[in-house]
Amino acid sequence: MIEVFLAPAPWNDLPLFGEQVISGLATGSIYALLALAIVLIYRSTDVVNFAQGEMAMLVTFSMWSLTLAGFPPWTVIFIGIALGFALGAFVERTIIRPVEDKPPLNVVVVTLGLFVLLNSIATWIWAQGELPKVFPTPFGFTSVDVGLARVSTHSIGILVVALIVMSVLYLLFNHTKLGLGMRATAHNPGASRLMGINVGRMLMLGWGLAGAVGAVAGMLVAPITFLFPGFMLAVLLYAFAAAVFGGLDSPPGAIVGGLVVGVAENLFGTYTPGDIFGPEMKLPLTLLLLVIVLMFRPQGLFGHVETRRV
């Protein structure tokens, strides 16, 4: 048998395979969270928010400062969520709303400008000292046995938190009046105004929720990647892949997409032939997978075909 795998083949080393899948699911659920943030905004404002990762980065850095000031981990996480919400709502109200009725590319460029702006501010404030910085995890990094595989408690913590966030969002959107109003606004803002819904407030809330969800993703991934001003970029790219994979207007799609991308990334990194591909090619291979999926489903797996409204 020709040795094509870097690692032993899955059927020869099931525990390794299991570890790769579970840690893939853990990072995948981080991608899923950020993808969910992107989808929330895309559904309500028709904008792909390129600054989503940097908003989370700014929040995570601020929370690092709080940790340094002696706040306990869980307090920091909840303050971070609140700050992420406030930042998202603030961004929508101040710089997105004035361009909402302008060509879509303008909004894209505004979010690109915000990307550069936030990144630069974080560099200015936090990059003076040593980088990267260590961000604490409330779950610890102990290894535990799950069936055949050994995984870290942080990975399990990520999965649990992601599940909680997703359930909360599901309940909010499907079982509250506020969620009803937000969904209506996403579908048809004009008619929503005639129902007496304050559309501006719904958009602001949508951005706020996205900011909060993104902040959770940032604070969960920072203990793994460590903290430096560009640490969310790779996560953002995988999250884009996840969101597009699942369909930009579909929240369940974002979750499925995130998990698929996370697992695919890990498996490509472990099992591709080293002399041709190897671990350093996992990003291109994951993105290739995305493009192939798009060729067959141009609107993503769960997305709706865009109907032209005039």
């Binding site: 009725d101 990144n119 597009v244 291109p284 493009v291």
Partner: protein
């Protein structure tokens, strides 16, 4: 910045904006504006805030030129004069500018080529690409690989190709690459296309590093920068020659784009952008037109990449990174979509902003200079956001409106929508009416009865 640049900008703006600048108000109002500008100019000059004084000086030149000649000199002559001023300045620049500034201008010329190409694709044809950095990189590597003489790469021809043939080769290679990517792009639209092209520019550096036998790997490839041609060897330094080369190619490529966009293919680009269904109904082969736009656009990026290799003398996987690639799109949006002038302005803004921005803030009294130096991106980001908020159709869009707006409505002029673009943004009924008003059909129809029978 050097005096010569200010003089050039002043002359250029004076020539081009003199045209019926009635948006500023009556003659008296314009005179008052001129007086205020002059006062500000002198104050800043006295305070030693160079850049602010320069900017006011440029505006002053425009208003004075308008006061003196606005009613008498037709627009055609003014534009011709502005073009002449620009050509003379750019040809004389090697003797007017410092070396680092000349290098910046060479880079601007290269970015102009990319921006013009991207504007053909995005502005005129409506396909968004965030991945044009990838084409630039492919062009740059094509040129570098062909110019190698087995010093770094084993597989190449022992005789290095002359540099100008590699520019053509880069154009061909990227044209084909654009063609190949244009076909899958047919199935994608809007944000899906944007993210797919983003995937391209993210993946390329890993691929270039991985297959180092072909590309020189992470440390990249070095090339011998071309010396000035024999006849000019005594007159020009190598940097000056490279500058003239870049500017020359940029001008030629812009003229070619102008020719294409005025012709049937250009009209087909716009028709497909505005409505694929209507374009198809008029007998346009939509798929072929979209692929052509992708291919031409990539070709432009390839030419720019080959020039970049000549200018830098080296190309690495990081020569064009994600941020630069994204900045190409930012450039054409703040310069002006679907406008060649906008592409040029965008390229200038994006190259000069990071270097001039901190200078400007430094010269402002009481502003923490530390911030401007340590966070140049903050200035760039803020300016990009402000320009998009204040001038939704880019600097060029505002310029076109400014010279054609009734007296005294300068705010509307700057924020308004230039002709021909409104149709694109129609989302609500009001937008359609607006779009209609500015479309060429409206002017014809409003003379007949048809204009009054619109459904409002």
């Amino acid at each position: 910045m050097e005096m010569s640049i200010w003089l050039f900008l002043g002359l250029l703006v004076a020539c081009s904006t003199g045209v019926r600048m009635q948006a500023l108000g009556s003659l008296v109002q314009r005179a008052i504006v001129a007086g205020a500008l002059a006062a500000g100019f002198l104050v800043f000059l006295a305070l030693g805030v160079g850049v602010a004084a320069g900017l006011l000086g440029v505006l002053l030149a425009a208003v004075v030129a308008n006061l003196l000649t606005g009613e008498y000199v037709p627009q055609r002559y003014r534009i011709a004069l502005a073009v002449a001023v620009a050509v003379v300045f750019f040809l004389a620049a090697p003797w007017l500018l410092e070396n680092f500034r000349l290098f910046q201008f060479s880079r601007i010329a290269i970015w102009v080529i990319v921006a013009v190409g991207l504007n053909i694709l995005t502005g005129y044809n409506g396909q968004i690409s965030l991945g044009h950095g990838a084409f630039v990189l492919i062009g740059a590597y094509t040129s570098a690989i062909l110019m190698d003489d087995q010093q770094q790469l084993g597989f190449v021809d022992a005789n290095a190709w002359p540099f100008w043939t590699t520019i053509i080769a880069a154009a061909v290679v990227c044209g084909i690459a654009g063609f190949a990517l244009g076909i899958p792009a047919l199935r994608l639209s809007g944000p899906y296309l944007a993210i797919a092209t983003l995937a391209l520019v993210i993946s390329l550096p890993s691929i270039l590093r991985k297959y180092d036998g072909l590309t020189g790997g992470a440390q990249g490839l070095f090339v011998k920068q071309p010396p000035p041609p024999p006849g000019l060897a005594g007159v020009l330094e190598r940097d000056e020659w490279l500058y003239l080369l870049c500017v020359g190619v940029a001008i030629v490529m812009t003229l070619i784009a102008w020719g294409i966009l005025r012709g049937p293919l250009g009209r087909a680009f716009v028709a497909v952008r505005d409505s694929e269904v209507a374009a198809a109904a008029m007998g346009i082969n939509v798929a072929r037109v979209k692929i052509a736009a992708f291919s031409i656009s990539a070709l432009y990026a390839g030419v720019a990449g080959a020039l970049l290799t000549q200018l830098l003398g080296v190309v690495t996987p990081e020569s064009v990174d994600l941020i630069v690639s994204i900045n190409f799109l930012t450039a054409i949006v703040i310069g002006g979509l679907a406008s060649l002038l906008g592409s040029v302005i965008g390229a200038f803004v994006l190259v000069l902003l990071p270097s001039v921005g901190p200078d400007v803030l430094d010269s402002v009294p009481l502003f923490p200079g530390d911030f401007a130096r340590k966070a140049p991106g903050a200035i760039q980001g803020a300016v990009v956001i402000l320009v998009v908020l204040l001038m939704p159709f880019g600097v060029a869009g505002s310029y076109h409106r400014l010279i054609a707006t009734p007296p005294g409505r300068i705010i509307e002029a700057v924020r308004g929508v230039p002709a021909g673009i409104r149709a694109r943004v129609a989302r609500t009924k009001e937008d359609i009416v607006w779009a209609w008003e500015d479309s060429p059909f409206y002017r014809r129809a409003s003379k007949s009865k048809a204009g009054e029978e619109r459904d409002v």
